[in-house]
Symmetry: C2
Subunit: 727 residues, 2 copies
Amino acid sequence: MDRRGKVTIPTDGSFIDGTKKIAALWGADAIRDCDGTELPKNVKELAEKVYNTYFIVRGDNRWAEANPDEAHRVFLMSERTLAESAVLEIRVMNGYFPEQITPDWKNIKYWEVIDRTNGEKIKDWRADERKGIVRIENAQEMHEYTVNFMAKVLWHPVQIYNYLTNGWTCEKQKMYDPAFPNTAEYIKRRMKEWCAEHSETDVVRFTTFLYQFTLIFNEKGKEKYVNWFGYGLTTSPALLEAFEEEYGYRLCSEDFVDGGCYNTPFRVPSARFLDWMEFIQRKVTKTVRELVDIVHDYGKEAMMFLGDDWIGAEPYGKYFKELDLDAVVGSVGGGVTVRMLSEIPHVKYREGRFLPYFFPDTFFKGNEENAVAELDRNWRTARRAIVRKPLDRIGFGGYLSLAAKFPKFVERVAEICDEFRHIAEFAAHATPHCGLTVAILNSWGRIRSWQSHMVAHELWYQQIYSYQGILEALSGLAVEVKFISFEDVRNGIEADIDVIINAGDAGTAFSGGENWKDEKVLSVLRKWIREGHGFIGVGEPTAYPQDGRTFALADVLGVDKEIGFTLSEDKYNIEKKRHFITEDVAGEIDYGEGMKNVYALEGAEVLDIEFSERCKRNVNVGEVKLAINGYGKGRSVYIAGLPYSAQNARLLYRAIYWSAGKEEEMKRAYSSNPFTECTYYPETEKYVLVNNSAETQKTIFYDIHGLKKDMTLLPGGIFWIEKKEVN
Amino acid sequence: MDRRGKVTIPTDGSFIDGTKKIAALWGADAIRDCDGTELPKNVKELAEKVYNTYFIVRGDNRWAEANPDEAHRVFLMSERTLAESAVLEIRVMNGYFPEQITPDWKNIKYWEVIDRTNGEKIKDWRADERKGIVRIENAQEMHEYTVNFMAKVLWHPVQIYNYLTNGWTCEKQKMYDPAFPNTAEYIKRRMKEWCAEHSETDVVRFTTFLYQFTLIFNEKGKEKYVNWFGYGLTTSPALLEAFEEEYGYRLCSEDFVDGGCYNTPFRVPSARFLDWMEFIQRKVTKTVRELVDIVHDYGKEAMMFLGDDWIGAEPYGKYFKELDLDAVVGSVGGGVTVRMLSEIPHVKYREGRFLPYFFPDTFFKGNEENAVAELDRNWRTARRAIVRKPLDRIGFGGYLSLAAKFPKFVERVAEICDEFRHIAEFAAHATPHCGLTVAILNSWGRIRSWQSHMVAHELWYQQIYSYQGILEALSGLAVEVKFISFEDVRNGIEADIDVIINAGDAGTAFSGGENWKDEKVLSVLRKWIREGHGFIGVGEPTAYPQDGRTFALADVLGVDKEIGFTLSEDKYNIEKKRHFITEDVAGEIDYGEGMKNVYALEGAEVLDIEFSERCKRNVNVGEVKLAINGYGKGRSVYIAGLPYSAQNARLLYRAIYWSAGKEEEMKRAYSSNPFTECTYYPETEKYVLVNNSAETQKTIFYDIHGLKKDMTLLPGGIFWIEKKEVN
């Protein structure tokens, strides 16, 4: 096996010899700079490939200052302000960071004032730039008002973050939006100049393109609002006008402000916002493609960093192919982010940046064991996804000189690099065996593949981990995973899908909200399930309270949620049953945040139920946590929540097989111990077993025909089995 | 003090001597029969007063059989049935108990068939009595359909309950509805005959009047649906037609079926349903008043049992006065039921039937200690409400001969009867001191006084105890309690109210649902609070998700609920503060079911917050359980839930005083130990201290001027203080 290649490391001008040594040990063939560091001059001696960070819409403050009207714009909502009399003044910048944004007083034609108590837009107001306020006349007493104002962005949000969080002191980078004509020309000119000046660069690492995800700071310079999917910074007058011309209608500030929710991906998207997204995607694609062509003209590769200014360049979007990129790089926090990267279509390679970053918060004296443990944990979590769909390359970020001070860490990375190359070689071009195809159904579908229930990239939120765990589990399970929207359901469910999962809180885009009052959606799904398919609901699936039902597909799920309106109904279905799905459960099942007040309908089977200790007078209604239901020839499973764990991944795997009616086929290319998993590559007739735990695990391995073999896997171990070894 | 009077006991023909002995020991002055027993012939020898149970709409099966078309009617919803082809047959009786109800095939003009997948009423159907089905033509495949059918009631629901639960074997009582002309005449005739035949009867104990609360049984004869407030059995063709004539519009089956929710009190009532309620109340009042007049003509008293067929005779309704009743009796499960009874207006006396019932489930060999403990617990719970607003009489139910076998129990009841007479004498005609006036705001207001969050009378439900605890706490606190509706708020909040409480789950009548999108309600409340009043929200107060807010009065409450749409917003207000409200808290506060995902807005003060143990990467957002907020001159308190406990009652008392801005005045006529409470009667200048616990309690007693005195109260003790003793 080749012990070199597929690995990228960071460096800077002050650590040349150390870089050479580590590059050799890790088999690194590419060198990168980071946002905030400079590459050494003789960088070409260090590796075959050199990555160089490139910013399109920041980095040239002279240009920004010469073209202040071409700054990015954002629609923001002022504080909700109570009218205590007929005249009300609202200071629009209250709560915002003046170094980041400033109201665009020249463009108040886009501003709107809304009475948030009755939802009406009012007309009787004027802006006063000198005082920084909007003055409302004839306000209704005791109503709350807000101003939706357009603001100019003065400073790049990610740089603000680094300034304030990581103590940066370099020049504060202003921004310019290529939606405006001068900047549109300028960015092409500058791209050419830069390529000409950077002959050492093999790969232009775009960080990223034109529109930063929404990241707004408060008056203290602390993060106020973060939405990794946010289109907030796309709303320049240039684009608003172009949109109106093309679509024949005008978007207003409230289409973006959205009552202060700013079209978070948790909102069921409006048709108007979907139009805007598509419009921006086409604009971004057209503009960026011109730059990519320049990069290619200079014989370099174009790599996209999946983060920062990535809005409008969604890798699973309709226009991504037209960008003609060579590669995508992104950071890896677990199996979900691996799959989010490794499945990106229309590029030559995908690179994952692994944790921990070589930063002083981890690499301080005496912390080597923790650093190694974090590395191991991240690797084990990512690896189960990598064996399913490998990344093409891995890499690291931060200061290599810091990592170099931890010899055990350096040694362990070397082992992981080898292990990665081994997997990539075996698995890269072999499609792993998938017993079944699972589709996640939500309001977004394909464009948010592996991105449901995310808020800020990789961050943990109490309201999401019980759903995110489903994706984390799926990332390493031996099933094909698709992402479909309600529109896809309306158009007819694709023939290869065996099981559909709907997971989320009521009213969110992930559960589906008002899509569940659409009789078409309900009928298509019912028919499809009755014909013999599987449906798995987690949390508040199909929720749309109406006519005595909370879950629109309560008939399918066999459970519904009590929201007070059916308390008068007696609920007798409370007996917990043993089942195929729970066969591997040891102890309690972890439902994360779980779900309250769910009860089983007659005919369903309850697999897990919690009874309140306060139950009095034999009122043992209980809260159902896990239940199954037959529906025609199909089957359904309800789960209250599913944070990621080995046990829950197995529970989900069993639920998928059972709901598809194929539980007899599960034990093929299978490992019995839930801490271990098996992947089979039919083309090469190879199996790989991974131990996802830090302990030794005994397991029974089943080959593709169901033949058994006892196995023992070392802590975190990986074990390859050739066909001939099985028999 | 008189050791005789104010107590009612049950008896029957086989326990005469024992009854005499116990009547003397307990000072009982009234004897009653029970549903299912017969009074002895020489009953007048046993006590001054004899109560005799009387049923208006059941008990004469010959009449019922002669007038089958005058049976009560109920609108019921069939099972939701999926159309798998264009023709669909629904067996309407599926899931119902044929002994209780039968479809009214003669009146299918009132039936409706509804497509529950799109909400449309369809016309292409016919009923087939022979087959017991409704046949739908041109059904849409994969839509669910239901039949709303009118059914005749064949057997009185409470009797079914006693048959099936308590093993009764007597004749099955059919029913007849005085809305029909023959029965209307008949019930008056029979009332006269009965009065003439029952010269020994002093009090006609109506059990109850014309319309039983909704109580429906399933195909196995088990309870299927119970709603103590349900108007289900009022919907006879006679009344539907009379309503249409009077109101000028026609109610349809779905107005009652309500998607299977049957207008539970948890539903925000529709205007149409409110019209119907008022119509029924007037009808019931008119009919029953005629019977009461007959009773009075015979020199007897008319007593209403608050239960069974009480629909349309709500004691806090507009027409109750016109019934001209002498008394009401009801069962007492705690402080709430005491107040529900003791505050009933327009009667001469109110009687509470205490627990435990003398039934074999408690009075079996070896269970005497438990029986005494249950008696004590119930008495202590009820007593704190009795000292605030005494019942006029107490009583017991069941078989006295069973109780007689437990001498300690008999002795303890004797003590309690004395204690009750003592309180009633001291407090009956003295108004206790109330520091403040509190109003519970919900969709019902006064008509459901002390009845919010109830499903079946006295039964515990997991979804209600965290709210019901507020009423239980209030029942014994030194505040005036009112019940107001949103209509009352629109019409202007009464001047004497200091603090408004809104408590309940989102969307329910108790939280208020769509009332919270009414700008009038919002403006009136905001203004009233800003002027210096208090607002306390529990659970999901003011909930109506719209425009980025879940709680419509988030600005008042200082908290809002995260439902996924503002996850992108950073929440920094997480520091827990000490406060006046939590000064008496020892250990954890019990929020019952609590509330998830509530966060504090800037400016509010967090008094209690829970952090998930799973929090990662310093995402310490937490869930707020208790918070306060200033609003103009007013104040607000948010509490996640408030099941009843001594500590929570004190917490609420403090929250009330603080929100009213009168915390300096709290320690007047006050007892410092939360397990104890103080009531003061200004007219007689007497104080009473109660120890609500089964342990000795030390406390500091504060008189009305704030003068302190150390006190020790015996377990469950009560202590009276005269003015002169204080100084």
